[in-house]
Symmetry: D2
Subunit: 154 residues, 4 copies
């Protein structure tokens, strides 16, 4: 149940449930790891978000083939599914567990985009899913996570 995001008391200016991409990007980029990932918000809708990530050399899993590390893709699945809940919660919430499927290698230098959608929202727990695409629109990874929505009201 890591990935705990800012709470109301810590960020008195947070705006509550929101679909404003600028505000969501501001919230997301408060996280140093999100900033390191070059995260940008492309769109926010009801139970849905689309994010972009800027490739960096440290993402590489191996020096020869140059593929992006699976851990980066898992990170993107996790946080994108998590923030698909922002239109209801106005913040990220702790991840309880996650499954990731890897479909194809993401090549050296490829920026990535990801779409997250809520599968089922509950006041205690929610399931959301995400799909990650490379620069040519090919599906490189997908998955789903369980998120602790109850912590958003604390």
């Amino acid at each position: 149940m890591t990935d705990r995001a800012d709470t109301a008391s810590e960020h008195p200016r947070r705006t509550g449930p929101t679909t404003d991409p600028t505000e969501v990007e501001r919230l997301l980029r408060q996280g140093p790891f999100h900033e390191w990932l070059g995260l940008r918000v492309l769109s926010v809708g009801e139970d849905r978000i689309e994010l972009a990530f800027a490739w960096r050399p440290e993402w590489v899993a191996d020096p020869d083939a140059g593929y992006t590390h699976g851990g980066i893709l898992a990170t993107i699945v996790d946080l994108t599914a998590d923030w698909a809940l922002v239109s209801r919660l106005g913040r990220g919430v702790p991840t309880v567990d996650m499954r990731v499927d890897y479909h194809r290698a993401a090549s050296r230098g490829e920026d990535l985009t990801a779409v997250g959608e809520v599968v089922r929202f509950g006041r205690t727990l929610a399931v959301a899913e995400a799909r990650v695409h490379d620069g040519q629109g090919r599906l490189v990874a997908s998955g789903r996570g369980l998120y602790h929505t109850a912590s958003a009201s604390s």
Copy 2:
């Protein structure tokens, strides 16, 4: 099926199945992302590996609470389970899919250790699991992945 590691043709000097920690650390740290994670090999045994990771400020998910991002923990579960296979394969192999469970937050500044073990080895696919602990030995995350062992013989 990302996370593809070096192949025989790319690394003619790789040594094949090994339990030599120095050699395994050399192989692992060829990956820029592994190096960025401050990875060290603590021990290697039959179907088993123990790794250490050095905290860095970019791991932080949120600037207030300072917890390590779940994506970092997912990465550690993935690669530790993968490299539990090194005593049989002598290298990392592509991850097919993964499940991660988050048990407690990893605090700011905490280095992490992880133990990986093979659940079942097959010539095409193998399942391995990993547990991640913080500096006080508390379990912060665990999980299991499916690995494409067939690619190790290519």
Copy 3:
């Protein structure tokens, strides 16, 4: 990798890739467990299937609340996702692994329906997902599995 279905040599009359609901139902109901589940095929499309299942008293997890056992829901997720591949493969294939999320209890006496869709098809492995609904159309479970498509060509 259980759930291995009939092979060509065992069933010389199988028809190959098909979207004919009657033929698919015939294939599915060759399995004694599928018959026990009261399985019917509602529709078959490209990379998609919709199935129905008839409640029976043995499904009950507990005698008081009367809920359907999670194992029945897991079974339905598994086989529905698997058979979403029938438009490409003409048969079921072994499941490699599966994740199931439980969203709400399915009540005593509730027949169930399930929709399966292919997430990504590959010649060796494919990922497909399924959603299970109760008689009022409420989502009771969902999940995804990895399927060994290579075995369909044997």
Copy 4:
């Protein structure tokens, strides 16, 4: 979150946390699906349980090869991991989600045994795992689930 078991008010005679195999078997076999699976309790320990299941013809996935259906194995993983918590909770609790890995086919006529162990216990949620073996002691499936321990105190 199905698989909800008896509650205190419904079963005033339940005994609370227990490691008595006879009592645990009595509780488990109150469930019609558990009885249908021919479930017996082999042993109960702290955070651990061992169960046995009696093969029946309806388990078969296909009439030719005769393998046991993956849904049966998923059911066994789920309920065995769940009841590994009985030494703390004295009952089964709802499953939130589950992952199952299939390692080899379970043959026609094979009774099965399963060992469940707690990975991490929490007052709200717990993770437990299970391994399923055939009559020759071969690992046929394994997995882990997330269980809603908070419901045990209701």
